[in-house]
Subunit: 427 residues, 2 copies
Amino acid sequence: MAQLLIKNIHMTDGRRKDILIEEGIFSEIEDPGTIRIETDRVIDGREHIAMPGLCNTHNHAAMTLLRGIGDDLDLKRWLKERIWPLEARMKMEHIKAGMELACLEMIRSGTTLFNDMYFMESDCVPFVDRMGIRAVLGEGFIDAYDEHLEKEKRAETEKAINACNSCSSGRVRPAVAPHSVYTVSEEGLRWCRDTADRYGCPIHVHLSETEKEVKDCIREHGSTPVRYLERTGLLGPDVIGAHCVHLTDRDISIMKRCGVKISHNPMSNMKLSVGGAFPMKSLMEKGVTVTLGTDGAASNNSLDMFQTMKISALISKQRYGVTSIGAKSVLEMATRTGYLSLGSDGGKIEVGRLADLILLDRNHHSLVPGNDHISDIVYSCSGSAVRYSIIGGEIVMDNGMVHREDDIIEDARKMASDLLSGDRRSQ
Amino acid sequence: MAQLLIKNIHMTDGRRKDILIEEGIFSEIEDPGTIRIETDRVIDGREHIAMPGLCNTHNHAAMTLLRGIGDDLDLKRWLKERIWPLEARMKMEHIKAGMELACLEMIRSGTTLFNDMYFMESDCVPFVDRMGIRAVLGEGFIDAYDEHLEKEKRAETEKAINACNSCSSGRVRPAVAPHSVYTVSEEGLRWCRDTADRYGCPIHVHLSETEKEVKDCIREHGSTPVRYLERTGLLGPDVIGAHCVHLTDRDISIMKRCGVKISHNPMSNMKLSVGGAFPMKSLMEKGVTVTLGTDGAASNNSLDMFQTMKISALISKQRYGVTSIGAKSVLEMATRTGYLSLGSDGGKIEVGRLADLILLDRNHHSLVPGNDHISDIVYSCSGSAVRYSIIGGEIVMDNGMVHREDDIIEDARKMASDLLSGDRRSQ
């Protein structure tokens, strides 16, 4: 869609505006009635509130297919007895079904850009692109210290990068995604850095998620995961570290110095009981960039970023006091900061930026009476208030309707049942 | 409605059933096609999942009108500068608007019974009753150690009890609601106990919410709030204590011995940074009854009990480990245990029980693929998946429609604006 005009929309600061989008970019934002232009499509904004689209910086999207499986088992049994056997049997049709369901869920709940790490990402590019959502896809790189496997993963990573770079809409872009310090060899990590430099794409890595990860790393490499990754040369301003719960002060200084971005995943951290406490205060004081992520649906179990915003704020308030963080900072983390950390100039409704925005139903009970829109967005609202999702100027959710929704739901149910029936057969 | 048949509904255990409701009670629950009866209304359950209605055991419902005001201020400034001045100016039309908005929000998000403590409750009875939701209303009893005020509050409490007892539908019932140990005199507390006994209604009280409350109580009365309330004779199996975060082992033993029920309010505890940590593990081990509540919208800011279920589980997992609590226990707390703690025989879809149930859209993305309905309900879903709310056999939300919704939304906005413009005038 070349031109789109949103008229008379409520902005989060309480003002009303007309917003003109041209060629995927915000081209004019003016007082109501000022923009006089005939456009292909006009949205009446009188009953909606506009906000930037949300950026989910850590996901394993296709895991929606495994949602609700073995939730209350301890981590070891959950992975060994339920998740890994199922993942080992996943074929492309399962990944596709899970990925499409995840995209549907993210679109419905206001996410316009997500950062993914999983398997068969190269094959996912056309499905993700068809959904209209913006994505950074990284093929999960796990070599398990095995030379043969490392070679295989190198090829798969490059294949995924090329697939993303061939996406003609430009919405799907690549990342290099070394899984973690405990699943990737030092050689593998160095190759990941070189590859990221070669292709100019970000690096997505799990980092200091559990105490065990930190202890094991100190035992094996003589330093914390952050220090170890710095030594291997992996760290840099293009790195998104997911979780980053167990950090020393020195780790935090290193991350600041290297410009590493953090994806904070409060729901998953709580649910998987990773221990410790995310050091929000120190990170904010030191000026380390914090963005927000949901983690995969198998460990959250929702991809709703509104929930993640609220709990990020509440966890911080619980630990450091009511005034330690405000709704505005959290909203910034989930929008502009997320976008910038993935090298994307969106996350803000401003002339010249990517036209990724969502429109909330201002008559949704959670946004009423509407004393403070930003507070309502962070503390009261959920993704269900989203009525329009507009990504690069394309209307991806149109007054509550997402293209192909029924087929996606049916396919997800069919593929999950297929996967689980294989699980039962093998038991 | 005398008779209602729900056909072919998905139950949370994966089975399919026909459910017949007669005179507000579940009268038959049978395999599909077994119940052959002509009823006034049939609901096709093929695309829905049935679960018991949720019970919110701690609310200040009318505070929805104050949602989002001064959220990120510290507690003292929030109360003194924003909330109290506004509350002092609240008239019946504000309370009505807030109460109706709260009822709408609760109905939409699956709550079928709530326990309330606020002002002007006697006047609220007809509005709440008209909404069709079940409620226990307690006039907030604060005497501030003032004899004159105590007399006034006695009269208001009895007025509210009589108003509730006159509610012809039987859905609205009374409670006695001494606010807390720090706002009610010993004499006031004794009167509350006598009055609860005299009218046979439950007692709703804030209890050990903050460390300050506990410390002050020890200084003034020589014991913790729980021990102090036991001494005054207030405690008993008809008491719902809200929050109960700062408890000693002895407090827990006393609560167990007296049969006191707890309303756990995790969202509000985090947001208001009450400190400490809710002792879920000890309470469960000792067998103290734990139910769930949202607290008022000014301190949560959502009345969605699905969110409260999820965070109750996640907080427990974070603190005590993944296996410390399961989705099934949390769901039980939010349904059957809540109902029983308020003396109501609902919260379970079983022949002979109150027909309070909700139907979820099984095609809502958060319930797909549907590997485990109970897990999806607790960890993935939000109130937005609710399509039908049936309370005492009456359809209160009908395929997503709630009666008078537009008027309630408009009135809430108008009354909040009226209240806040008074606030601005007086500043």
